[in-house]
């Protein structure tokens, strides 16, 4: 009874919104389907009433735009989301594995592999699954890549006199007390930039020492201003951070969306960089499986992938048409390699411990 009333309330809330946004592209009897079977899946999802999308923070990777578009297309499915961090998300799911409260879980790719090993995921092949490269997905679809993010230097030109273009540049005395980056122990991006430093300096997935040596030198030179535990986006926009080693989308967002304009330069380091795959999964025992599938299909559809590109996030599905206005704002990456999730995941402890030795 309580459940019925809840779904009734959610349903009526959706209906109340429907007339305003019907003009957008709400899926109705006469709208063309994004993919075969969309209408039937929507009907099943509408009965469930909601989808719980775990770890998709609205300010991250343009998720807010996808939430909006999903809400317009599927007014009868309420999307609920939160933002907890990849590692925490997997651990929380593990704790509640007997009765999960979430339908989909999004994370840095290595955490997806971890979640699969722990048996927390359900196989599901969404729209465009076949178009993804083999390395970007689990064979049965327990996880699949939806976008990737490259490590770059985001430079506030008001705070530094010259702009560094390579990892080697960052060691120069010009950049004393200027560099901020995220702690590999607390954030995926911290691990990815450590891998970028490893691979840019002749290291490999079995030999991380060159990267540790480089970061150690950077700290010893006094060029690292701070290592932070959470994404300092607001601090960067406020002008607190001269150089931020971070994912490209935050830099382009500061430049084009949050008004920093030409004060910001986004640089792909000359020696090369690494792109991190971000993956998503359907949860085993999800409380709203059809709504979860509807959400996943939307994310991997051309429409969903294009929305990532509009937030300066590289879509995972090859050949997605990106609007020219967006294309013009993107930067070219000198030498960008996709992080090998399996190999990187196996070295997680080595990486965080080795980093702590040289950086703390």
């Amino acid at each position: 009874m309580a459940l019925d009333r809840r779904s009734f309330l959610l349903g009526s809330a959706g209906l109340a919104l429907a007339p305003q946004i019907a003009a957008a592209q709400a899926l109705s009897a006469d709208t063309p389907e994004l993919y075969p079977g969309e209408r039937a899946l929507y009907a099943a999802a509408a009965k469930e009433g909601m989808a719980v999308s775990n770890n998709t923070g609205p300010t991250w990777a343009n998720w807010a735009a996808l939430f909006r578009a999903f809400g317009q297309r599927y007014p009868e499915v309420t999307l609920v989301y939160n933002d907890v961090g990849s590692g925490v998300a997997v651990n929380a799911l593990d704790r509640t594995r007997k009765r999960p409260q979430i339908d989909t879980i999004y994370y840095f790719g290595a955490n997806g592999i971890d979640a699969q090993k722990r048996g927390l995921l359900a196989p599901f092949k969404p729209v465009n699954f076949d178009r993804l490269p083999e390395t970007a997905k689990a064979p049965n679809g327990e996880w699949f890549t939806i976008h990737q993010l490259e490590v770059v230097f985001i430079v506030n030109k008001k705070l530094v006199s010259t702009v560094p273009t390579s990892w080697a540049d960052l060691l120069k005395p010009d950049f004393k007390s200027t560099i901020v980056y995220l702690d590999p122990r607390t954030a995926g991006v911290g691990q990815v930039l450590t891998w970028a430093a490893v691979l840019a300096h002749g290291g490999s997935y079995d030999n991380l020492q060159p990267g540790f040596d480089y970061l150690g030198e950077l700290h010893k030179a006094g060029n690292v201003l701070r290592v932070v535990g959470t994404t300092p986006y607001a601090q960067f926009v406020k002008g607190e951070i001269p150089i931020w080693i971070n994912y490209v989308n935050d830099g382009l967002r500061a430049k084009f969306v949050d008004g920093m304009g030409d004060d910001v330069e986004v640089i792909s380091p000359a020696e090369g960089t690494v792109a991190a795959p971000y993956t998503i999964s359907l949860v085993k025992g999800a409380p709203h499986p059809n709504a979860g599938k509807l959400w996943l299909n939307f994310i991997t559809s051309e429409a969903g992938q294009r929305l990532f590109a509009e937030g300066f996030v590289t879509p995972a599905v090859p050949g997605v048409a990106i609007p020219e206005a967006v294309q013009a704002k993107l930067i070219t990456h000198s030498k960008s390699t996709l992080l090998d999730l399996e190999k990187a995941g196996a070295q997680l402890q080595t990486l965080t411990q080795g980093w702590a030795k040289v950086a703390l």
């Binding site: 911290g190 701070r226 002008g239 607190e240 951070i241 950086a359």
Partner: protein, 280 residues
């Protein structure tokens, strides 16, 4: 019948508090304890061998004591001055002083960044007026020193709240009496005022040390995870790269135990004083 009513009333008044205590303190503590001892105490051995643990403990103690000392000194002065004011002025000022208590640690940290950070109002004003290097000045607020000062910002009000009643109830005639009997000014203060103030001051000090020792939101937002203090170590253990949960639980227990110990020192001091007052 009356006895029954008394018991019922006690139960009715006590149950909500007890339930909240059980659900939000005892239950989590038991669960964390279970996790910490899940490998028969080996987690504590790993913790003791952790490269960062002992320096982190030392830094946390130093930070707690430094922030506690600054806050106590500041709080005592403010409370003393307030106690000399008339009631209206005191109420108005108390309202302002209590305001920081309502802010979350993150808000306070961001406020300090907006004022004293590299692009902060104060920093830029100092640069314009006196040519102070903004990079140097901003490095202060992002350092452990800055952290101790930011902690004082919301610890001083706690000290003031605890000390004000003591000062307000202090009868200044006692000082005059001591002086008229031949004691010097400082002798009178040491023998008459200090004994009455000391127990509460110690209790306040213990409380603020415990708060500074366990706080993490402000530290995370302000200095980042590079400053090695125990609450931030705990944060890194349960973040993205965290896999050793017994270890994290063991550290959580150690933190809880140390904070509780600091608080209980304060409570014991106050209880002692209460006894001596009752004995009189």
């Amino acid at each position: 019948m009356r006895e029954w009513q008394r018991v019922a009333r006690l139960l009715a008044l006590g149950t909500p508090g007890a339930a909240i205590f059980a659900v939000f303190f005892l239950l989590p503590l038991v669960m964390v304890g279970g996790e910490a001892f899940s490998d028969h105490g080996a987690a504590f051995a790993r913790l003791a061998q952790l490269d960062l643990f002992w320096p982190g403990l030392a830094n946390s103690l130093l930070l707690g004591l430094a922030a506690g000392a600054i806050s106590l000194a500041g709080g005592l002065m403010v409370a003393w001055r307030l106690s000399q004011m008339n009631a209206a002025a005191r109420t108005a000022l108390l309202f302002l002083i209590a305001l920081p208590l309502t802010f979350s640690g993150l808000v306070v940290a961001f406020g300090f960044i907006l004022a004293f950070g590299r692009a902060g109002f104060v920093t830029l004003s100092l640069e314009r007026l006196f040519g102070v290097d903004p990079a140097w000045f901003a490095s202060l607020v992002y350092s452990p020193t800055g952290l101790a000062l930011v902690y004082s910002y919301y610890l001083i009000p706690r000290v003031v709240m605890l000390m004000l009643p003591v000062f307000a109830n202090f009868d200044r005639v006692q000082l005059a009496a001591a002086e008229s009997l031949g004691a010097g000014r400082w002798r009178a203060i040491a023998d008459v005022l200090v004994p009455q103030v000391l127990p509460t001051a110690l209790a306040a000090f213990c409380l603020v040390v415990a708060v500074a020792f366990g706080a993490y939101g402000t530290a995370l937002a302000l200095v980042g995870s590079q400053v090695n203090i125990l609450p931030l170590q705990l944060f890194t253990l349960v973040s993205d790269a965290g896999t050793d949960f017994p270890l994290a639980a063991a550290l959580a227990l150690v933190l809880t135990a140390l904070c509780t110990a600091a608080m209980s020192v304060g409570e014991v001091v106050v209880a002692r004083r209460q006894e001596t007052v009752d004995d009189r």
